[in-house]
Symmetry: C2
Subunit: 335 residues, 2 copies
Amino acid sequence: MDKTISLNARILAAASVVGSKEAAGPLGKCFDFIDDTDRFGAKTWESAEAEMQRMAFNTALAKAKCSEDRVGALFAGDLLNQCTGSAYGLLSFDIPYFGLYGACSTCAESLLLASVMVSTGIYERCGAVTSSHYCSAERQFRTPLEYGSQRTPTAQWTVTGSGAFLVTDAREKAVGRSAVITRAMPGKAAEKGINDANNMGAAMAPAAEDTLVRFFRVTGERPENYDLIVTGDLGYEGGEILSDLMRFQGYPMGERYTDCGKLIFYRKKQDVHGGGSGCGCSAVVLASHLIPKLESGELSRILFLSTGAMMSPDSIKQGESIPAVAHLLEFEGRE
Amino acid sequence: MDKTISLNARILAAASVVGSKEAAGPLGKCFDFIDDTDRFGAKTWESAEAEMQRMAFNTALAKAKCSEDRVGALFAGDLLNQCTGSAYGLLSFDIPYFGLYGACSTCAESLLLASVMVSTGIYERCGAVTSSHYCSAERQFRTPLEYGSQRTPTAQWTVTGSGAFLVTDAREKAVGRSAVITRAMPGKAAEKGINDANNMGAAMAPAAEDTLVRFFRVTGERPENYDLIVTGDLGYEGGEILSDLMRFQGYPMGERYTDCGKLIFYRKKQDVHGGGSGCGCSAVVLASHLIPKLESGELSRILFLSTGAMMSPDSIKQGESIPAVAHLLEFEGRE
């Protein structure tokens, strides 16, 4: 029984905090805060990631001129073991906390659940925060940076960044045009036999296909009804696979399809191989690039999917394949 | 702005799957499935944990005579890095998947979000599944079992078990008396300076206190209005601290307070020191012991809190304190 979730959640504010490599990329001028050292004043990479979450959510609160006691709940997650980026990063906020783990799908997962809370009137406002950090991710998932390992051509580059969003019931009066989350299609966990942790795009593309096809079938929508269809972090390899899969399914997406992992870095100049990835990838691209375009009128209607590869370093060593999931959100720009 | 969430979610079915030590405890006869080898037919402890989740949710579906296409979404989590117990364990179900991480608070967190979904009519039915495994937890959080490390007096014993729940809109007609989730108070992340990973009860007790006090203040309820107030896995040490804290706050709980970590093992005979812990602890005690008592009429009204300590082995080594969270659910037995 596939069904979409009807939502009516306005993005009250979105904020992005990134590191040096992201600042040097095509969206460099769009981010709210940049630390060229990638350290954010912290002694460890893990604390730096937590600090990015704190800064991103604080910035979102400030942009909305919203005090924390008006925020009903926080939905947050990251890639670190036991999601410590979120647990430590958001500890200073006196707000109920829901920890999530959807790997790189967490941005859409957190926005989906926050939107459910405000659309059903349970809370007036909710926050959604996610992050990833290249240095904490590399030493946890692959090898410590000091080893200087070579990267395979399909390997993706984990984005150092955190995106934070404040959503509110869209019936709350807006000042000017804003981005509204109107529908969602939650993803199902899928696994198609890929067990190469350096090719996560290939592992995640079938999950994105499954969610997109279910959304188009249930709603009767077509790719051409949207200005843009953008996935979280399939990158170049996974993005190409998804394009092919959707064409075979009878939903060719053509030029209106892109991926946050392609948008965030210059492919050749920045030597990122497969493109950007990580929970922070789709979060900071949504916050700094897509939502502003929905607000300005440059985009009217988009589909946004975050895609997550939910393996662990141990599960890969134990010979398991990579389970993936993709959650879809439909955004509209509205006066 | 503290507020409770009003819910109306009936427990359609609850199932529990445990290992040998749990089977030898006081609730041994109440569990649905026991594997005396703790291996559940799997080659690794991590796969064994995943298999417990699959079995537990399958058993819940069978008890409710419910096909998986009637289940709108699954909310699941566990303690393993990247929550692979849930991602791999529930992969075979063709149901939208929301991954959660709230450490040992995940049982209440998953039930809370599943209850929101059915109480607001977004889905007709939802599943909530959590697990922990002594052998996978020890080698991940402390030391491999083969080392034969000595345990400190306050150390808790991670429960090998998985609990699964199927919830439905309580307006759906029930056959006989059942357990209904009527209200929830989500927890805030709190940290009070404890950084001893062998004394998690002490780290989690202030989080439970905070949630309980906020619930009593907002609702005007008192401990004496409940047959039982039961926390997830504070164990003996944390449970005593919570009792003291609540007395100081003017809400003495007396004999009506207990903890799932005390209920699941014989303290001395089973050499468990601080009591049981882990996501599976509160999940299997709720599924096998508390819900049947609500259904039989032995209990009418209880408060159930799962408590989570959200540190990672790395964050402890880096000198950080332990952030904790406790989510509260109010249950009533109803015809």
